[in-house]
Assembly symmetry: C2
Homo-oligomer: 354 residues x 2
């Protein structure tokens, strides 16, 4: 019996469309011969759309996307400093709106240094952790404002809002993730000695949930110290759970550790299934190299692999990752075009059921 998966594709700006094109090609190749069919709809959203129409994210499109099974997202953002985008905020108005409104509370960002990837920072095998970043609150809440903008006595505030509800669900997800892993270790990261209010709530909830998971070894680390460990001893991490802003910072750093941001995949997961989850490379739209086939589509391809897992197609996800791993080992130092990397990954795919 054929299973039809409704996939909303948001290629976005800059290198987004190029890398998503390859992710889609790889998805088709992986699923070929199986009983799953992707029914795709493309949504032209992002800075380009804003420049052309003045719209950031029309309600009707959001309502439509809510009915899909999953979202594949490229990257959004125009050329930095473009005066026409000065009063747009595509990040808040589109990307974060998707994450918040669709309750993507578990922003899952695996970090593995694959064999064959050259990194001056670590050895393959030393880097194999996953960051579970809270995705719907904290410093990203958007609360705050500017009093007397432009004046000498201007004051701007940013309010980090942290609810027991919001923390508990992501912490629980992280414990469940740790359960599936061999080392069964969870490190929670915050800055409890300074951000004492949010820190106390996080601590209370981590401790409460930890009591339900005696098989998981839990430790705590300040975010500043976590950056040091990440570059000096990444092997100490297995699962990391942290807030929205610390997670943002640590996962870019993790991308660098894991062989470059061109390989860093992510899933914005709504574990409850009430809204479609969204899969996107961690990198941005990189307008400086857009349209030149210079971008590495591996992060987008691996994000599509996380999507397969999430949709229950774990063996297809594994085949995708095996192909990426095989390609990385044989890649060497030669620069290849975006499309050539897509070709190479497809060429490495093992036949279904092999």
């Amino acid at each position: 019996m054929t299973r039809i998966i409704k996939l909303a594709v948001i290629p976005g700006d800059g290198i987004g469309p190029e890398v998503i094109e390859q992710a889609n090609r790889v998805l088709d190749a992986v699923l070929e011969g199986g009983d799953v069919v992707l029914d795709r709809t493309e949504f032209a959203l992002g800075a380009q759309r804003f420049l052309e129409t003045g719209e950031t994210f029309p309600e009707s499109e959001q309502a439509a996307i809510a009915g899909y099974d999953a979202i594949l997202f490229g990257a959004v953002g125009g050329v930095p400093g473009d005066p026409r985008l000065q009063h747009a905020n595509i990040e808040r108005g589109l990307l974060l709106k998707l994450r918040f409104d669709f309750e993507h509370y578990a922003n899952v960002r695996p970090c593995t240094l694959f064999p064959g990837v050259v990194s001056s920072l670590a050895e393959p095998g030393d880097v194999d952790f996953v960051v579970v970043r809270e995705g719907t609150e904290g410093p990203y809440a958007g609360n705050g404002g500017r009093l007397r903008p432009g004046a000498h006595a201007e004051v701007a505030t940013e309010v980090s809002v942290n609810t027991a509800f919001g923390i508990e669900r992501v912490v629980r997800y992280a414990f469940e993730t740790a359960l599936t892993r061999q080392r069964k270790k969870l490190t929670w990261v915050h800055k409890t000695n300074v951000l004492v209010h949010a820190g106390a709530t996080w601590q209370r909830i981590v401790q409460t949930v930890a009591a339900e998971y005696p098989e998981i070894a839990v430790d705590y680390m300040h975010v500043d110290a976590a950056t040091i460990f990440m570059v000096q001893d990444p092997s100490r991490f297995d699962v990391i759970v942290t807030d929205n802003l610390f997670g943002d910072i640590l996962t870019d750093l993790a991308g660098a550790i894991g062989g470059g941001i061109g390989l860093a995949a992510s899933g914005n997961i709504n574990p409850d299934g009430t809204f479609p989850s969204m899969f996107e490379p961690v990198h941005g739209s990189a307008p400086d190299i857009a349209g030149k086939q210079l971008a590495d589509p591996t992060a987008a391809i691996l994000s599509a692999g996380l999507m397969l897992d999430h949709l229950g197609l774990v063996s297809d996800g594994e085949r995708l990752r095996s192909a990426v791993r095989a390609d990385l080992v044989s890649r060497g130092a030669a620069t290849r075009s975006t499309g050539a990397i897509g070709d190479a990954v497809i060429a490495q795919l093992m036949p279904r059921g092999a």
Copy 2:
């Protein structure tokens, strides 16, 4: 004519006293034969003091310290998880109180990879930048609270407070710092696409002040991207100016890049001279290795060097740094005790006026 400098010394906890002992020895050796005399008073403050007396930072001691010319600070903090410290917050009650009340608005943290220091992350010469971290506001303001602590519906907030007044003075300091440097480059770091209120105020002020410094090349970077550049291409940084929390995170990472947190020095500067400035290694109290002469006192020694500069004793500061540099080159891989490193630096000191 003899100049007497009144120095308040706060050795603190853990490895603080050990590293400060060596910094003091080196200071004495550097100043020997000159016309500057240090008149030191030690203040026993920190977790140890709290455990013994229940006091964190008595007003009378704060008032006394306010009358000194400078503060040399080791590190504070007890053993993590010590139940007796559960309701103490030495960081907020002592360290941050000093920074805030004494208006240490320019938290200056140079990052140089010295020749002889082995780092898998970078080459000497590639790393030579200074982070000017805002020290008196932002997410460190301490604003916020917990509603319904312990309940299912608990909410905790942290309010980042950013004033034009506070931002302008540190941004101005950073531009002045950039003027003194060869490359004359300033990178301001924030997360303007998400923290739009504070981001807009920072942006307005950086742009306004930049207009007064046409000789400085200014660029902007999101904090997440800054972590990637710091590990992959640190040579692109000259002066970085950023807020209190981003500065905290980036300078620990910078410490790792600059050959380890054992070498990272800092000055908490009150440029207006209304209160004493404070000099401290970036590292913490490391209770696990305390009292064993295992700590590297170099960060504390270099912090003392920043203090000499700040007090106008720049050629003495240079002699101290030359001695540290000479020691680092000849250090090799052998582990040396805290005291032996102090000895070695002193042995490398060039005679006054040589």
